[in-house]
């Protein structure tokens, strides 16, 4: 960086000159220089013009953008102030207090039941056109608390559905139609039942994870059994591939979770249902 020319005023002083904030003596000195220096005088004139232009910048926020801004801020305000709002006082009536504890628990149980029932509502789709939106895996030590199709629900690990779907589709079409393990319910259209339980139940042989190709089940249908099974039970006609390395069963969660089948097959379609639950259908 070249040192400033001592014969020319420094630019911060020229700024003050443009702004009119220089003391009189200093201003006179600089003005005298400008009268004799075309370079500096041109620079100062350009700066004056640029200041006029820049100060004229007055682009107002569009009305619709302003509206959206204030809506977003209102939501944020409510969020911030809702968390700091003191909790309402507990009612004096004991029965109501008791109800406050029981009602949420009952609601949760009801939702879990609904979720489990909904998962079982699987339509058997002819052909291999699986449209799996969720990866289906199975918990190795299946935490089958209810022994129902709710066991199929597992937290979603990844959204790599394309890969899993492809593998599941190939696997599902290769096996025979599977039937339910003891912990399953029939599909809505009478198709193969769905079960997340590993063949043989808890502690049984691990299922075929998606991608292995060893999936059983009717084409397009949802099955719960091992690749070669046509009936439930722990008996497996074919060796079971390695289980999903992340076996975890969740009975009910809000948000993303996976439908797990013992053979690792993917249901025809898993869509979001009410309250974030998945509904499996053909």
């Amino acid at each position: 960086m070249t040192p400033p020319d001592p014969t020319h005023p420094p630019e911060d002083a020229l700024f003050d000159l443009v702004e009119g904030s220089l003391d009189a003596a200093r201003a006179r000195s600089i003005e005298q220089h400008l009268a004799a220096c075309d370079e500096c005088s041109t620079l100062v004139e350009s700066a004056r013009a640029g200041a006029t232009a820049a100060r004229g910048a007055d682009l107002s926020m569009p009305a619709d953008a302003s509206h959206r801004l204030h809506l977003a801020l209102a939501d944020t305000w409510d969020e911030l102030h809702a968390t700091s709002r003191p909790l309402p006082a507990a009612p004096a009536h004991t029965t109501r207090r008791w109800s406050r504890r029981l009602v949420p628990a009952l609601a949760f149980a009801l939702l879990a039941t609904i979720a489990g029932t909904s998962i079982l509502a699987v339509d058997e789709r002819p052909g291999g056109g699986r449209d799996a939106e969720e990866e289906v895996t199975q918990r190795e030590d299946a935490d089958v608390s209810t022994g129902t199709s709710a066991d199929l629900l597992q937290p979603e690990r990844s959204r790599d559905l394309a890969t899993n779907e492809k593998s599941a589709r190939s696997g599902a079409e290769s096996g025979a139609a599977g039937t339910a393990s003891p912990a399953v319910a029939p599909q809505e259209d009478g198709g193969g039942p769905v079960s997340a339980e590993a063949p043989g139940g808890p502690g049984g042989p691990p299922p075929a994870p998606p991608g292995t190709g060893d999936h059983a089940g009717s084409p397009g249908g949802v099955t719960a059994t091992t690749p070669s099974t046509t009936q439930p039970g722990p008996d497996e006609a074919e060796p079971v591939p390695e289980p999903d390395p992340d076996p975890e069963t969740c009975v009910l969660t809000f948000g993303q979770y996976r439908l797990v089948l013992p053979d690792g097959s993917v249901p025809d379609r898993v869509i979001d249902g009410p309250l974030g639950m998945f509904i499996v259908c053909g």
Partner: protein, 185 residues
Amino acid sequence: MAAEPDVVLVRRAKAGERAAFEQLVRRHQDRVYCVARTVVRSAEDAEDVAQETFIAVLRHLDTFQESAAFTTWLHRIALRKAYDHVRRRVPEPVDPAGAAVAGLEARDRDPIGTGLAQTHLLEAIGELEQGFRDAVLLVDVAGLGVDDAAAALGIAPGTVKSRVFRGRATLARILGTRGLGSASD
């Protein structure tokens, strides 16, 4: 609440008065949008930046030290959000033909006062080197004082002055070459 200083509105907003915060936003949203628009060069992105800026202000309002000017803090956040947005954005192809047409249209109009001319003015400011651009944006567009702009940029006041001076002179040359606004050369 009309014409109340920023510090009063900030105190009231901290105390839970939503209307005070809304007043604060309405007072500064255009300037913030203008600054953002100059940096990100897109109306849609400028809206996002403005929203992110004010949401950040709201979330961290309790941490704002009233010893500093509210506008200093506000525009520091706005600049940071704007440059973060630029860094995250995938570069778009330049349309020189479209820009030339827009320039011709602008010259047919009053240079200052129309939306299109304003857009081109902000584009010209956006063409400045970042150091000059930020200084001009804060001092001339946002209206900050030199000391406040220096605090927002983290540089000395003398440096702000020289950058603004150079930035203004360069801006005038850019506008002159585009036929927008007056130019000394």
